[in-house]
Structures are given as structure tokens and as C-alpha cells.
Amino acid sequence: MQEDRNRGSYIGQAWLVILLAALYGVALAGVQSTLSGKIEQNKKAETYEVMPDLVPGAQPGLSEELTVMGKDGQEARLYRAVGAGGRQVGWLLPAGGQGFGDRIEILIGVDTQVSTITGLYVLEQKETPGLGDYITTDAFRQRFRNAPTDRPLVVVKTDPSQENEIRALSGATISSESVAAIVNRALANCGAPLRELAAQARPGRQGRVESTQ
């Protein structure tokens, strides 16, 4: 933007720009410090709001965020879902992966022992409207509920005969498979560390926690 051909001081020429830059910096930092709390809250609320739906009995106010070391050697972010009386009721795993259109970001709810899936929620997707975007519907998400986590989920086109089979959406097999693949990968990655964590946290009360499911 310095198109002048004067040999004078460029800084002198640009005093207004520098002054404005500093001024704007202050203004922006002011705005940030005023609003950042609220924005953070909004971001968290997005996950916490759906938590009771995905992990039955969870109370968002008591739940907390933590990171575990995944099998792939990278830290993974997840949530401990805590119910009434400070009792843990399950986990909430954010996961993502390639869909048919773009990346799909989902939240997976599992029980404390990571033995069954208790719920699924699609945060972000750009699947084909009218076909693939039905992965956000309740009807599709229900198909994952109570699926076991000890073996990978398999997508089938007919009515499922096995527990670990998920019926695909007609016309959107790839989208359905993508969601199942994301779930499989996330559980394979974080399942073991989570079970360990659960065993450490409440070694004596495992049975009780399981019985609430």
C-alpha cells in the first residue's frame, strides 16, 4: 500500500495506519474479553445440550472434559458424563472422518464400561440433501443405540440379524457406512484407554454402574 515515491520516512507517512492499528487492536481485545466467556459457553453448550440424550441420566452441569492418549499415539478429547449424585453414567466421544460429501463430525455416547453405544449425534455434515443428510434424523441415529462395541459395526442393506449390524439408509449407503466407520475407528482408538480409566476411577463399583444401564 506504500505507493509513494517520496524518499521521506515511510513510518512518518503511515502514522495514521499505525495509530489506527493500535486502536483497533485495543478495541478488538476489549470485545474479546467482554464476549469470550459467552462464546466459550456457547461452544460447550453445543455438546452438553445433547449429552442427556446420548448418555441416559447424564447431567451436563456435572460433566467434565478430559483428554486420553489414543491407540494412534495422539491425544483425544472426550467428555465424562456424570449423572445425579456425582455418579458416572458414561462417556461422550467426539469423532470425525470422511463422509460422502465432506467430513462428518459426530458425538458418540457410550456407557461407562464402553460396552454398548447409548446414542449418536451428528454435529456437522455436508451429505447430499434429501439422501445422505438423513443421517441426522432420529430414525437413523436410533439404529446405533444399544449396538455392542466389542466388534466393529457392519452396515447391511436388509433388516439386521446380528446385534452389530446397522441398516443402511436407502440411497445413501456410503454416508451410512462412513458414520459406522467413524464410530468403529473412534471406539477402536479410545475404547481400551477408556475402559482402563473407568476401572481405575471406580474399581469397587463397577457392577453397580453397569446395572444402571
Binding site: 500500500m1 487492536g25 483428554t67 463422509g99 460429501g101
Partner: protein, 231 residues
């Protein structure tokens, strides 16, 4: 391996599937304005690819050292100031203003540099350089990179950022050159009066966007193929 597959997917996605122009609608102004002749359009595309790579690289550096949550510079300042280590100093609010500043300055700098040292290059696409400051595609690439620098557990490195920029630039060049080719032919057609100019150009763009929608799902296939190939 994972990184390599990731990079390939980013490239395919940026260049074809989620083409900057036809899917994200960024860079529409030059797409409609500078698409009357194929050689001009191609020159514009090259200039965009060039500038988008440079500015995204610079902006990636600024993002990873200053702007992203938990970046080294604000963390160091906060420590030096004796702040509470529980809280974090976040400068991400400055990102937009810094991005546009860097883009404007780097375009200016590149223009001067190329004019001095590569006069033939300047002759062929120098005129496009100043236009690029207000080209949304450039800023969009930086913003996409910024989006992927939010989560400290999953940061984009320089390869990913640069691939996104290159893919986006190449996708833009492809789209604008195709458009120019069609419009050259269109000059010979009898277009209804009200549609002449921008109207017909937009409708062509719509049809092109439909064609590019055919690429949807390619990345899924490529991912599967690469994964099985590399294992």
C-alpha cells in the same frame, strides 16, 4: 502415512469436490469478471495460485505462533507478565485483521518483487496481482487453515495448509479457464437479451457446479484405495 493420505484428500477436496468457486462461492468476482478470454483467465488463475500459496504460508506461520489458542507468543507473554497459568491469553480475535493485512502486504511485495526481477512474468500476470487483494479465495484459504488450528490436539501443519492453498488455487484456475472457454464460444450464440452478460454466466456456472458435484464421493474412494494400497 496418515499424513500423506490426509494431504492427498485435502488436495482433491479443495481442487475438485469442494471447488473454491463452484462449491464455496469464493472468488466469484474474478470468475465472472475476468473470464472473457481463456489466456487472461488462465493468467488470473496462475496469479491466484501463486499468491494464495504465499499468503497462506505466511498466515499459517502467524496462526501457529501468535493467533491460535495456546500459541507460543501469547503464552510466553502471559508467563513473563506473571499471569495465572490456569488461564490462557487468546489472540485469535486479531486473526481476521492480521490475515487481511498480511494478504494486502504480501500481494504488494510480490508485485514489486516480480516487477523488478521477472519482467516477463510481470507482463503476463502482473496486472492481476492488485486485484487479488480483494479476492475472497485468498482470505478463505487462510480462514480454512485457521479453522483447523483451533483444536490443540489436532493441528494442521505447513504441508496441510500449503496443500489446501495449492489445491484451491488449481481448482480456481480450472474453473475460471473452463468458464472462459465456454464464454468464448458463447459470444457466437444468440442469448436472450435479459440474460446477456452476468445472467448467462451465472447459469453456466450453475451447470458447471452440477458437473463438479459429480466429484462428490471421489475422496471417499481415494481414501479407501490409498489406505489399502499403503498397508
Amino acid at each position: 502415512m496418515e499424513t500423506l493420505i490426509g494431504v492427498v484428500l485435502i488436495f482433491i477436496s479443495a481442487a475438485l469436490i469442494n471447488n473454491f468457486v463452484l462449491h464455496y462461492f469464493v472468488g466469484i468476482c474474478p470468475f465472472l469478471g475476468v473470464s472473457r478470454r481463456v489466456d487472461t483467465a488462465f493468467g488470473m488463475g496462475c496469479a491466484v495460485t501463486f499468491v494464495i500459496s504465499i499468503s497462506t504460508m505466511l498466515n499459517w506461520a502467524f496462526t501457529s505462533f501468535i493467533l491460535r489458542p495456546g500459541a507460543p507468543l501469547p503464552a510466553w507473554v502471559w508467563r513473563t507478565a506473571g499471569g495465572n497459568p490456569q488461564t490462557q491469553l487468546d489472540l485469535s480475535v486479531l486473526s481476521y485483521i492480521i490475515y487481511i493485512f498480511i494478504i494486502a502486504s504480501s500481494v504488494q511485495f510480490v508485485e514489486m518483487y516480480v516487477r523488478k526481477f521477472f519482467p516477463p512474468l510481470y507482463k503476463s500476470f502482473g496486472v492481476f496481482l492488485p486485484l487479488i487483494t480483494t479476492n475472497c479465495a485468498i482470505l478463505f484459504a487462510s480462514l480454512e487453515v485457521f479453522k483447523h488450528m483451533q483444536d490443540p490436539t489436532n493441528l494442521w501443519g505447513l504441508p496441510q495448509a500449503l496443500t489446501l492453498a495449492l489445491g484451491g488455487g488449481i481448482g480456481f484456475t480450472l474453473a475460471i479457464s473452463l468458464m472462459a472457454g465456454i464464454r468464448e464460444e458463447l459470444d457466437l450464440c444468440d442469448v436472450p437479451r435479459p440474460l446477456q452478460g452476468a445472467g448467462i454466466a451465472l447459469i453456466i456456472a450453475g451447470i458447471m457446479a452440477m458437473a463438479f458435484m459429480g466429484f462428490t464421493g471421489v475422496d471417499k474412494g481415494v481414501e479407501t484405495a490409498l489406505t489399502s494400497l499403503l498397508r
